[in-house]
Structures are given as C-alpha cells and as structure tokens.
Amino acid sequence: MTRAPSFMDRKDLLALAAVAALLLIVFPLALDGFRLNLVGKYLTYAFVAVGLVMCWGYGGILSLGQGLFFGLGGYGMAMYLKLEASSVENTKIQSTPGIPDFMDWNQLTELPWFWHPFHSFPLTLILIVLVPAAFALLIGSAMFKRRVSGVYFAIITQALAAIATILIIGQQGYTGGVNGITDLRTLMGWDIRTDSAKFILYFVNAILLMGVICCALFVRSSKLGRILVAMREKEDRVRFSGYSVANFQIFVFCLGAVFAAIGGAMFTLQVGFMSPSLVGIVPSIEMVIFTAVGGRLSIFGAVYGTLLVNFAKTSLSESFPELWLLGLGGLFIAVVLFFPNGLAGIWRDYVQPSIDRVFRLRSKDPTDPGQNVAKQAASMPAE
C-alpha cells in the first residue's frame, strides 16, 4: 500500500492526485490564458465551497452568508492593492493626491484609520485571515452559545451578508460603494494585470486550494471531524457526553470563514477588483449551490461542483445571452431531483462501484477491497 500521511487514506490520496493533475497539468496545458484565468476565478469560489462542506456537510451548520467572509478577504487584498495604485504620482489630478480616487470623489481629504494597516503587505496577509476569523468567532459565539442553529442560523447569516452589502454601499467614501474597489494594478511593484502574472497567480491559487483541501481532510479525519459528524446527527447526545458543542461549532464556522477569505483575496488578485456584488445574498447562496452540486459531504466534490456550475454558467451565457439563466435553472433542478448527493453521489453510487468491480476482478485479492469499503463507510458517513 502507498504510504500516505496519516489523515488520508488511499482513496483520498488518489482523489487529491486527480485534482492536482487536473488543476496543475491538464488545465494549464489545455486552456489558453483567458480561459485559464477564468478557471482561476472559479477556483476562488471552490475555497468557499470546501469551507461549506466542512461547516454544512460535516458540522451541519448551513451558512447562507459566506459571501461576507469572501468579501472580507477580498476587500482586505483590494485595500492593499488600491493603496499601492493610489500613489501621489498616480493621483495628482485629484484634489487630495495620494488617497484612493473614490475617496476623493466623496470629499474625503485623508485616509480613514482602518485603511492604514493595509499599507503593509505582511500585515494585510495577516488581517485577511484574522479579520474574518474574528468576525466568525464573534458571530459564532453569539449564536452557538445561545444554541441558535439550523434554519435560524441560516437566516441570520443571510441577514449579515445583506447588512454587509448595505454597509459597503452606504459608506461609499470609505469602501467605494456599489462600484467596489476597482483599477488595481500592482502587488509590491509587480504588475498583476499581465498575462504572465495571471499565469503565476493561477498556480499560486491552485496550490493554495490544494493546501486548503489537505487542511479540510486533516480536520475531517481527526477526532474533531468525528465529533462534528456526531454533532450533526444528534447534537444533544454529544452535549450529554460532555463535549462543548458550541465550541466545536464555532471552530468549524471560523474554519469555513478563513477558507472563504483566502478565496476572496485570491479573487481580487486574479480578477483585479472587488465589489459588494460578491458579498451579498445572491453570491452567498450561489456558493451553497456549488457545494450542493458537488455533493455537500465531499471535499473534492466541492471543487468539481464549483467548476461544473461556473463552466456551465460561462458557456451557456456566451451561447445564449438571453436564455442562459433558464438552462442553468434546469441544471439545478435536475441535480436536486435526481442526484441529491450531487456529483460526489453520482461518483459513489455509479462510478466507484464499477471501478471497484474491475479492480476486484484484476487483483483477486479478497481482503483489499473489503478494507476499502469499510474505510469508505467510515469516512463518508450516511446522512
């Protein structure tokens, strides 16, 4: 048997290798620069989807407000890039040179205090992770300690996403308003708009995503992962067994928030701007849809689900600019009706058994496949 890190079984390792091959070899070879950049953009949503698998699939906490965390990460990165693009030299036509253009339009004459930390890149990176985690901690403590869960929690997260959008739009002097923070140019002097930069950023993004997947796999296979599943199935029993349910819920919610924020920061780098349209209710729900299409119990499914839905979105809208939403709607209905466990469910129920059968015929080793099935049952608990 192949030696794998303790938190992955052979199947996980194979799946990870497959994702790595797809992202790091197949896409860069098969796609031109423009399409590759698009895939890079899609993959930033996959960070959120992986986080949702942990929160929703394993922890049983459905968050309809992941856009908030995606946005916090994205805005953090955008603020750094915007400050770099707003050097005194670049903004000398403004009445106050040296501040972002939209602040000047809104009669601000100096940089607001909360923008100052974003002059430093290392500090920005820390804040991209810390701020969403702190927010999630705050929200999580307020909710889970009071045993708010299920639908109520989902609605509150949705409201938070809506509030964030309204706040960003309303405070346009500080945030750029509806337009968002646009016209981002360089990262420490490195022009991120060039094709070569986009190419490099794609790989950075893909590798980070692999890292996030590994992190999710690690959590899943640890004792923590078991407790999460137990909690999802019967919260009270876990509580009566002496565990602090709220703390586990807060942890997994924070984890999902940090994943989403990393995705947001990578989005800003690859797309070149950040706007409130990525923070609100619609994108938050879309991210849940990506997860559902991929299969909410499958970490790898989340990546494939995100890619599939976004590919469909792009190609349908290119071919049928007036009708594409109908096609996309049909796709979702089909998935929900026929494949409630998403792509991962299709794989597990149809593809995997036939592969196993082939291997069983080949190897004629009665013990090995049995082990696999047992492991699979353990790592993919039934709903």
Binding site: D32, G33, F34, N37, L38, K41, I93, S95, D101, F102, W105, N106, Q107, I166, I169, G170, Q172, G177, V178, N179, G180, T182, D183, L184, R193, V271, G272, F273, S275, S277, L278, T314, S317, E318, S319, F320, P321, E322, W324, L325
Partner: protein, 419 residues
C-alpha cells in the same frame, strides 16, 4: 453565437424577399462598395477581427438580471444602428458583424465578458456597459487590452479614457442648464434632494448643490436624503417634504424605486401639477413602469426625448418601432446607445483604419448630423457636445419639451469649482 431573435429574422427575410425585385440593381451596389474597400492589411494592423468583407464588434449589456429592463433598449438601439450601417454599405467597405455577450447585471461578469470579447473574439469595438459600476469593472480590462468602448449612459463624470467614447451626458451637462431654467422660470429658491445611494446620484447632487449655493443668488438646499438601491418605502421623506415645502424636489432615484416613489407621492396628496419636481433619472423607459398618470407634471432633464420634433428623430423613431414593435418606447440612453456604432463608423472612416489608437485619435471633432437628438460632436475629452432639454411628463408616458438649451453644451467631466 448570439444572433438576432426569430422575429427579426422573419422580418429580415420578408424585406429580403421584397428586395428581390430590385436585385439586379442592388447587386451592383455592394460590388462598387467592395471595390473601394481598402486592403485588410492596411486597415487592421493590430490583429482585430477584420476580414475582407466583415468587421466584428461586441455588444455587452445585461440581457438578464435587474438591469435588463434598462439595458434592453440600448441593445435594441445598437442592433438597429448596426443594421442601418450595414444597409448603407458598412464601414470601410465591410459589413459589421456583432457578438452579443450578457453582463447579467453583475459587475465581475462585465469584466469577464469584456475580456472575452477583446482577447478571444478580437472585436474592433465594444458597444456596452450601462451602470457606472459595470463600466468601472470593465474599464481596466478595456484599457489593458486596448479596446474601444462606446458607453451610452448619462453618468457622474470624473473620468476620461482614451479607450472610451462617452455618448451620454456627464453630470454638469445634464444638471446646470436645467437648474438655471427652473430658477428662472419657476422662481425656485429652495431645493430638496432625494437620491439612490451610489456614486452617480451623490456626485450629481454634489454638483447641483455647489451650483445652487455658489453660482446662483438666494437659493439653497433644504434637505438631502439617500436611499439604498431598490428601496420602496418613501413615506418618511414624503412627510419631510410636506413639512419643509421646498420649491423644487430634485430627484435622482433610479430603477424600480421610482415606481414606489411616485406612487407614494401621489398617494400622499402631493400634486405634481402644483409642486415642482425635477428629476434627472426618469426617461420614457422608467415611465413605462411608473405609469404616466402617476408622474404627469414632473420635469425631467435629458438631452433626448422620444417626442423631439426633428426629421432625424422621426426617421429614428419610425425605424426603431418597425424593428422592435409599436409599443416600445425610446428613452435618453437608448438614443445615446444608437449613436455609438455611428460615431465608431465615422471615426473609422476618418482614420481610414480600424486600429483602436487611430480611432481614438480621430474621434475628437467627429460630427454626426443624423443624430436623433439633432447634432452631436465629439470633444477632445471623448465626451459629446450636446444640448440639454427639459421635458414635462404627460399622462400618456411621453414628455413635452418645454426648454432646450440654445447652444450645444461643452462636456466637462472634471468641473472646476464643483469638486
């Protein structure tokens, strides 16, 4: 690829059949045109999608989502202009082919599709964007890949790009003349501002406030309020209006909020025949939703109204209705969108090339005498010289033009003294 819809195909087919009678004659015309067409290598040195017979442009608006209702008119106008240009022999002897992309009312999508049009399709120009947010999202992409955007909407100004021709008004063009008019004609002294909360209303109101406070005598702003996009509860501000009794309510509420706002004004007993209301955000398109009876008596400042009495406009309205149906209405932005393909054609012919740099350089000074709004000219700053008009809303959803600036107004996207 996205093509025209079926209704138009059948209409086109009918026209083609009718045209068969004149086929022998018509057959000669394109030949003459093509004989004059300059070589592709000469008119296209930067690898755009130009062949010996065709040139490709992009149309990039929201065909779906909340903005579709506003942007559909622009799509229709651009397709009409392209068809008319093709019927008249095309541009530099080449027919215009268009690729339509859907921005889906989503700003990142605008950036993505703009990039697709420029990088994959190599379009020679893009007619598109509507909201400022969509333009701000697409602009860095368009500048990076050196595209040419024709942007139709009246907007807040504070922008100027080599790669954009702004065919709508910037804020000072729309506002200043009409404020002068309302003070002169109505003796207005006090103004109350109500707007949607984003960059365009805020900037427009800032300019209006500076004008009222610094450039006119004895006038002042007594209130200023903003509401989120899509807001539908205006009762509190209507109560304040009743208390402060401003001479003029000056509004830039956009989109669906308009419907609620005017209905609630009427329900609250504010009669627009007696209370002067001036809007810079309601065109014939919006009245379609608001209902003529709810807004009759309000004044709107635009550069174009469907009811304009001139030969160009009569032809334009007739052609538009023939192509898109009797019931369609034509608002200010729709007309501005119609200008895009024409101004591009004129610039390409002046430059003798489709190269973006040459078109950008040739654009200043381009005059379009067949413009439905009368006559327009491209300024050095890539905005248009155009007139300002004030229309009085009628019950039937049209405007009666009550004022027209005597001269073309110079575009001034970075107005001194208004910042």
């Amino acid at each position: 690829m996205a093509d025209q819809d079926d209704a138009r195909h059948s209409r086109l087919r009918r026209q083609l059949l009718m045209g068969m009678a004149a086929a022998p004659l018509a057959g000669l015309l394109p030949k003459v045109a093509f004989a004059q067409a300059p070589a592709t290598s000469a008119v296209n040195t930067t690898g755009l999608a130009v062949t010996d017979t065709e040139v490709t442009v992009g149309i990039l608006h929201s065909a779906t989502g909340t903005m579709a209702i506003s942007e559909t008119g622009s799509i229709q106008a651009e397709k009409l202009a392209i068809e008319q240009i093709n019927a008249a022999g095309g541009v530099l002897g080449r027919k215009i082919k268009y690729i339509q992309e859907d921005g889906a009312s989503d700003w990142p999508t605008f950036a993505e599709k703009a990039k697709k049009l420029l990088v994959q399709d190599k379009v020679a120009a893009i007619m598109g964007c509507w909201t400022s947010a969509s333009r701000k999202a697409a602009l860095p992409v368009i500048e990076q890949y050196n595209g040419m955007l024709y942007y139709p909407t009246f907007y807040e100004g504070l922008e100027q790009s080599k790669n954009v021709i702004y065919t709508g008004q910037e804020a000072t063009q729309q506002i200043l003349e009409s404020l002068n008019w309302v003070v002169r004609e109505k003796g207005a002294k006090t103004f109350y501002f109500i707007g949607s909360d984003y960059i365009w209303p805020r900037t427009s109101n800032k300019i209006a406030r500076k004008h009222i406070e610094n450039f006119m005598k004895g006038t002042k702003v007594v209130g200023e309020e903003y509401f989120p996009l899509g807001h539908t509860q205006f009762n509190s501000v209507i109560n304040k209006l009743k208390l402060t009794k401003p001479d003029v309510i000056f509004t830039d509420v956009v989109g669906g909020s308009n419907v609620a706002f005017y209905k609630q004004l009427k329900a609250a007993g504010i009669n627009l025949e007696k209370q002067t209301l001036m809007t810079i955000s309601v065109t014939e398109d919006e009245i379609d939703g608001i209902g003529g009876e709810n807004i009759a008596g309000a004044y709107s400042c635009m550069k174009y109204f469907q009811s304009l009495e001139n030969e160009n406009n009569k032809e334009f309205v007739a052609a538009f209705k023939k192509m898109w149906g009797e019931k369609t209405v034509i608002g200010d932005v729709t007309q501005a969108a119609y200008l895009g393909p024409w101004l591009w054609k004129l610039a390409a012919e002046k430059a003798g090339s489709f190269d973006v740099d040459k078109i950008a350089a040739a654009s200043p000074g381009i005059e379009f005498t067949k413009a439905p709004e009368g006559y327009v000219k491209v300024h050095e700053n890539h905005h248009l010289w155009s007139k300002t008009r004030v229309g009085l809303a009628q019950k039937d959803g049209q405007f009666k033009v009550v004022y027209e600036s005597p001269e073309l107004i110079e575009p001034n996207p970075f107005p001194k003294g208004y910042q």
